[in-house]
């Protein structure tokens, strides 16, 4: 039943039979090989039939990717990733801040930057608990992503960290926040973490939507040296330099809705020709 010929068997001159279980396993292996996968992935948080029918139960990362996929389905298969990302930008309810992908598309139409990409990958945040519960890190929030299992030969061409910000008013009315994203260089037990500033953005407290930070260089480093991957830190300050708790500033964390969880997305390009191994 795996391979279904829609034409009648008489018409095509073949007689069809159901595959035996070992044949089915062999067939699965061959299809995985065509897809360039060494084995069948076993995701910890895979999809249940209920989730498939109710996209609202999906996490933000698969939802974003599904949005990309749906945007291009129905279109010509020749559509490249430049179009995908453009559509994703349109669908993502982003803030007024220019995103890496958006600004590239807006300014350089013929840029080979994204059209060269052949794979897009989203990564879920692996930090289980927001560290802002700890008094020392009250104004920071940490994020970690596993980039150790990138298919061989794929190089990062662009990467973004995406985090959702809710509207906050009250004491912050008419205020702006300076959002800074840092790469964690080293972690120490008894002293401050070594961090490196990657990007900053200024938003209104009343702003609501996805914020996007360019982390291309950092992602490249993490792919090359997974041991140097200590994650990212996010810090929020008021205009006059006062630290603000990220949750109080409206940033959605682990305890927030599924579809507003922070994640990162990366665009890849195959850097070498893949040769299938002899089986």
């Amino acid at each position: 039943g795996t391979l279904v010929d829609r034409r009648s068997s008489v018409d095509s001159g073949f007689l069809y039979r159901r595959l035996k279980s070992h044949e089915k396993r062999e067939m699965q292996k061959e299809i995985l090989s065509i897809l360039g996968l060494p084995h069948r992935p076993r995701p910890v948080h895979g999809l249940s039939p209920a989730q498939l029918n109710q996209p609202a139960k999906l996490n933000s990362a698969p939802l974003f990717m599904l949005d990309l996929y749906n945007a291009m389905s129905g279109q010509d298969q020749g559509m490249d990733l430049k179009d995908w990302s453009h559509r994703a930008t349109l669908h993502s309810h982003q803030l007024k801040v220019k995103s890496l992908l958006g600004s590239h598309l807006g300014s350089v139409q013929d840029s080979a930057f994204l059209s060269d990409a052949d794979m897009v990958m989203s990564f879920v945040n692996l930090v289980e608990h927001d560290k802002e519960l700890s008094p020392r890190l009250w104004h920071h929030r940490e994020f970690k992503f596993n980039l150790s299992q990138i298919p061989e030969g794929e190089a990062v061409t662009a990467a973004e960290f995406r985090i959702y910000k809710d509207c906050v008013l009250g004491s912050f009315e008419n205020q702006t926040f300076l959002i800074s994203i840092y790469q964690v260089l080293a972690e120490h037990r008894n002293r401050e973490t070594n961090i490196f500033l990657l990007d900053t953005q200024t938003v209104w407290a009343s702003d609501e939507g996805w914020l996007e930070f360019d982390i291309t260089a950092t992602s490249n480093l993490w792919v090359m040296n997974p041991r140097h991957n200590f994650g990212l830190q996010l810090k929020v300050e008021t205009k006059d330099g006062r630290n603000v708790n990220t949750k109080a500033a409206g940033f959605v964390g682990r305890d927030g809705p599924y579809d507003k969880q922070p994640f990162m997305v990366a665009f890849f390009k195959a850097s070498e020709v893949h040769l299938r191994t002899t089986r």
Binding site: R6, I34, M119
Partner: protein, 139 residues
């Protein structure tokens, strides 16, 4: 030789628009052969039937298709036959036990995109080239 000469004359006379007629006239004198002639067959690979719906988010499957059938004279009955397929057929006719007929194989292939989870529940959207057979021909 005489047959091929006549065929060539005919070929010159016909315009592109009359291609269909030409194919059907060939069919008349050798209809059994056309039944087994090289052509595209539909074949759907279902990711659902493979039991992969827990890690492949989309699509549910894809129409991979395949090429099947024989490549023999007259080759113009087979769409997209290469020039060398004629030589291959000639040599096959002269020495059928040692030289095979031209192969019925894809001439146009399309890409598909697959959206799936990896072991770490990260999501991958990858474009796979040459996955769907759009047209077949004799090589």
């Amino acid at each position: 030789s005489a047959t091929s000469k006549r065929k060539n004359q005919n070929r010159n006379r016909y315009t592109q628009a009359q291609d269909v007629t030409r194919v059907s006239s060939i069919t008349d004198y050798n209809s059994s052969e056309l039944k087994t002639a090289c052509r595209k067959h539909e074949l759907y690979v279902s990711f659902q039937d493979l039991g992969w719906q827990d890690w492949i988010i989309a699509p549910k499957g894809y129409a991979a298709n395949y090429c099947g059938g024989e490549c023999s004279f007259p080759l113009n009955a087979h769409m997209n036959a290469t020039n060398h397929a004629i030589v291959q057929t000639l040599v096959h006719l002269m020495n059928p036990d040692y030289v095979p007929k031209p192969c019925c194989a894809p001439t146009k292939l399309n890409a598909i995109s697959v959206l799936y989870f990896d072991d770490n529940s990260n999501v991958i959207l990858k474009k796979y080239r040459n996955m769907v057979v759009r047209a077949c021909g004799c090589h």
